[in-house]
């Protein structure tokens, strides 16, 4: 600890003053983002979300009833040639009977049950064709989804498979990242943050070789966001 205090004291010395503790950022009266999307309706956020995710080669699909959801999932299974899937062990996914919907179509499903061993779950996720999670929030401006990863909501589910699918409620689509940061801050101030938070926007990408775009470099190369509009 002595080393740390010495380190910090040297900083205060260089700044020409005594040590400070518990400094907080002053409140700002106005913000650059205050007027953004002020007159938008929920429908507008959805449309913007779809537009922005699509522009990044992500797939944004709206479903208005359980049948459409089932058809959409079937469509994904066929298009992406899905044989195996890994799912979060999550109430809302269970309410949608997602596991059944997949199993019925011949997909071998594993659920990220935190009672199981890491090697088993990570190993499966690594080989799985698709990973499904629920998303806490969507961001219209960028086509992003917000995930809190902990316990049965494994990090690897949205990371290791070659396809990633998020399920998002239409009413959870907010204008922009301001909303996500506000929610994260509130979460920290109340129940605390999980060990990993993800803001995911479309597929993995890189332009490192001659500025030529490659999709799916390390993370999933195909992303679906299924928006529940019911």
């Amino acid at each position: 600890m002595a080393d740390r205090e010495q380190f910090l004291k040297r900083i205060a010395d260089r700044l020409g003053r005594d040590r400070r503790h518990n400094v907080e950022l002053p409140e700002f009266q106005e913000n650059p983002w205050d007027e953004m999307y002020a007159n938008y309706a929920e429908e507008d956020y959805l449309n913007l979300f779809i537009e922005n995710l699509t522009a990044l080669t992500g797939n944004a699909l709206k479903v208005t009833n359980p049948t459409e959801l089932s058809q959409t999932i079937e469509g994904i299974i066929k298009k992406e040639n899905v044989k195996t899937a890994i799912l979060w062990k999550e109430k809302r996914l269970e309410e949608l009977s997602l596991q059944q919907a997949l199993t019925e179509k011949g997909v071998f499903v594993k659920v990220w049950d935190s009672a199981l061993a890491e090697t088993e779950l990570v190993g499966f996720a690594e080989q799985a064709d698709i990973g499904f999670t629920f998303a806490e929030m969507g961001l219209a401006e960028t086509g992003s989804v917000l995930l809190y990863n902990q316990g049965d909501l494994g990090r690897s589910v949205s990371l290791l498979p070659r396809v990633y699918a998020a399920i998002l409620r239409k009413e959870d689509i907010k204008p922009r990242v301001t909303s996500a940061l506000k929610q994260i801050r509130e979460k920290h101030q109340t129940i605390g943050l999980p060990s990993l938070i993800n803001l995911i926007t479309g597929p993995s990408r890189s332009a490192d070789i001659e500025m030529s775009l490659s999709i799916g470099v390390h993370g999933p190369g195909t992303v679906y966001v299924i928006v529940l509009d019911y």
Partner: protein, 473 residues
């Protein structure tokens, strides 16, 4: 000429003669600066955003000790270990000892510029540990045994053929010079490395003080894999990378990707708060955060303090005409371009780096584009002042400018010089309106450009002769 100047000039010459590099740099800048322009127009009121970002960075740096303390305490509350390293030796020793203690055989890294500052890879490799860079561009230059030439696109100087050659050696078979195919290969190879690695080393784009969290921006997903699969996670972060709270991240999160590549946001923004918790399945069991000074401390309290606002977006590189022509390697330092030309001498001293502040025409494009308002071109001039006032300028130059100071302070001498210019240059003009071979220092000019022959009458001579009287008074 000092040894470094020759070395610098050599690197500049090499870059200027590299046709591929020059075309690649023009193309990269075109894409990246147009991207920024487009996004800044879409975002609207860019100046307000910039001002906010600058305010937050300024407040943070001014209260750095408090925020670092807060960050460390909160990170430790979440189970991370925090180590404050004064210099590269302390940082490297901590990480190396940890790796040895863990009996680590393989380490994966996601991009961390400060880790290059401290030469971490070499130290770990010398301890017999395999270190694999996983960012595609960094992986390429690691295989090529080179340093990055751009902050955001480190392998911009490499052709796809060169990359194919490098990857083919790894593959043990010939791979096509196709970027997408090569990226697929990298994914496969590096996925194995991620799964086997004992330690993951990442940087930190930002460290949130209020919750002790690290925030990582990535497009590829390697930062996520690095911080999820290996059992131990090590963070190397410059001590200035702090942000007070999550909401304060807004302007920085909104400006960095737009300034760097013209993206609204990177594919992944990842917030890591401590190692995995009880009940978590995947994630590292241990998290070690190494907070690094390495020369930043001595910049605090100086007129250069605002350089610590830098969020490493690379916009200054993307707008710099000098960088466009010489690329990153010519600078010879971890950080190239305008940021490098200021930061490197400040971190590492003027003895070795006094050429860098002169690698600029002071056009100001860097300062204009910096999303956190760093007066880079002003700092370049001030560093030149430092070179002069610490006796590092050449004697000849000193004499020349002493004469300049004298002449400009003494009109009669000044006039003499002005009025004599034409006679002085006449012998070299050979009767032409333009000189193609001027004497003394001016020969550097005429090597590549014509120099006009001064007219017989200087302006003030014309004024005295005609101009003054023209309106009949």
């Amino acid at each position: 000429m000092s040894k470094n100047q020759t070395a610098f000039q050599e690197r500049v010459d090499k870059s200027l003669n590299d046709d591929f590099l020059r075309k690649a740099l023009v193309a990269a800048q075109e894409k990246l600066r147009n991207g920024k322009k487009e996004q800044s127009e879409i975002l609207g009121n860019w100046e307000n955003w910039r001002k906010r970002a600058e305010q937050i960075r300024q407040h943070t740096i001014e209260n750095l000790d408090s925020y670092l303390e807060q960050f460390a305490l909160n990170a430790e509350k979440q189970g991370a270990k925090v180590f404050f390293a004064t210099d590269k030796t302390e940082a490297v020793e901590y990480i190396k000892s940890l790796a040895i203690q863990k009996k680590a055989k393989s380490i994966v890294k996601s991009k961390s510029m400060v880790s290059e500052e401290i030469h971490l890879n070499q130290a770990l490799e010398s301890a017999g540990i395999e270190v694999v860079e996983t960012d595609l561009g960094e992986y390429i230059i690691q295989l090529a045994k080179e340093t990055p030439s751009h902050i955001i696109v480190p392998a911009i100087h490499k052709t796809k053929e060169q990359v194919a050659e490098l990857f083919s050696k790894v593959a043990g078979e010939e791979l096509p010079a196709d970027p997408q195919e090569l990226a697929k290969f990298a994914r496969k190879v590096l996925r194995e490395k991620f799964l086997q690695a004992d330690i993951g080393v990442s940087g930190a784009n930002f460290a949130v003080a209020e919750s002790g969290s690290i925030v990582l921006f990535s497009n590829e997903g390697n930062a996520r894999l690095t911080t999820t699969l290996p059992k131990t996670h090590v963070v190397t972060m410059g001590m200035e990378r702090i942000v007070p709270n999550w909401e304060a991240l807004d302007s920085l999160l909104s400006l960095l990707p737009r300034s760097a590549t013209g993206q609204k946001i990177t594919s992944y923004v990842t917030g890591v708060t401590g190692p995995k918790r009880v009940g978590d399945v995947d994630g590292p069991e241990e998290m070690h955060i190494v907070i690094i000074d390495n020369g930043r401390l001595k910049i605090l309290g100086t007129e250069y303090q605002d350089i610590l606002h830098c969020i490493r977006c690379g916009a200054c590189l993307n707008h710099c005409p000098v960088y466009r022509h010489i690329g990153g390697h010519a600078y010879g330092s971890v950080y190239p371009g305008p940021i490098g030309s200021v930061l490197t001498p400040l971190l590492n001293g003027l003895d070795e780096w006094k050429e860098l502040p002169y690698a600029s025409s002071l056009c100001g494009a860097c300062s204009e584009t910096c999303p956190v308002g760093i007066p880079l071109d002003n700092y370049l001039v001030k560093l030149r002042r430092d070179v002069v006032e610490t006796g590092r300028a050449s004697k000849l130059e000193k004499i020349a400018f002493q004469a300049f100071g004298f002449a400009t302070g003494n009109p009669s001498f000044y006039k003499l010089g002005v009025n004599m210019a034409d006679s002085a240059l006449k012998p070299f003009a050979k009767g032409e309106r333009y000189l193609v071979k001027a004497p003394f220092v001016l020969k550097n000019w005429t090597k590549v450009k014509d120099l006009p022959m001064p007219p017989k009458l200087s302006f003030r001579q014309w004024w005295a002769k005609e101009g003054e009287k023209q309106d009949g008074r």
